[in-house]
Amino acid sequence: MENFQIYREDRWPHMFCPGCGIGTVMSCFQRAFLNKGLDLDRTAFVSGIGCSSRLAGYVYADSLHTTHGRALAFATGLKLAQKDLEVVVFTGDGDLGSIGGNHFIQACRRNMDLFVVCVNNNNYGMTGGQVSSTTWHDYLTTTTPKGNPEYPFDLSRVAATSGANYVARYTTAHPKQLVRVIEEGLGKKGLRFIEAWAACPTYYGRYNKMASPVEHTRWLKENSIHIEQMKVDGKTAEDDIDLQVTGKVTIGVLRDADRMSYLEAIQR
């Protein structure tokens, strides 16, 4: 398998830091995309601002690198103007969960026919490691030097409860599972949300005693728990909304519904 079947190799090496999980998400996305046999000429990529949003610029396809937090809104317009185009959104936790929070909720509520990949590295990497809406409680960032007093958003739960058809979460320590859920999601309609927890050794890792990519990857593996295991343990969906209850992030397919998508609804 060649590594650059959907990417612009003329832009390599890419700009991401050593060990950055975004690169792993790229590899997984490419594999799933190829497995699915989708056409690059009929797929468009939209992203916002932040490290993960730079991903759109590396795909050898039509790509729109937009403003901070608004990728889903741009993607909505693009999709409605060309309804048979597959529109993929690359975004991050700051872009989607903080500045773009409302667009995220509304796009899920509409069940807009978009495929959304959120690379969640739990902090603002591009600007140097500030607290984001998914930074864990008590964790250190440049803007929470005494530990984060706030609690994190569970982006996947937000997506699921807002109405997204398909919601799955894995980490970059689970590349094969990521490929599987991306592939599965690409074949569905409505809003499909893939949350990929990713290592940010340069900032989140460095401030939180996991500065090496290997340490950060281990942290991801150790701090995640599969939804099926949660059930075995007698934990409910409510338990894992507060990540502090289990101390772990739930991974797996969190929602797989068949609600009427936006396009289906307007084309009835």
Partner: protein, 79 residues
């Protein structure tokens, strides 16, 4: 053979970490980009290498998928 592209590898060592068969080991040489590029020292143990030898499809690929820099390829893969 697994080949690590020295122009792309940023020395994160994730391949060394994730390989269940310890195919990779920490490198000794600094690349032109200034990173410690891992070495492929145990290719005989590679799961996919053995799969391909048996005429089967690769099933592991953890290193290729995990590599954040798209730096690893296996030149024994057919397509």
């Amino acid at each position: 053979m697994k080949i690590i592209n020295k122009d792309y590898c940023k020395g994160c060592q994730i391949c060394v970490e994730v390989c269940p068969k310890k195919v990779y080991s920490e490198g000794t040489e600094i690349s032109d980009m200034g990173y410690l590029v891992p070495l492929v020292t145990n290719y005989d143990k590679c799961i996919d290498h053995n799969q391909i030898k048996k005429g089967k499809k690769p099933i592991c690929e953890l290193c290729i998928l995990s590599c954040p820099d798209q730096a690893i390829i296996d030149d024994s893969y057919g397509d």
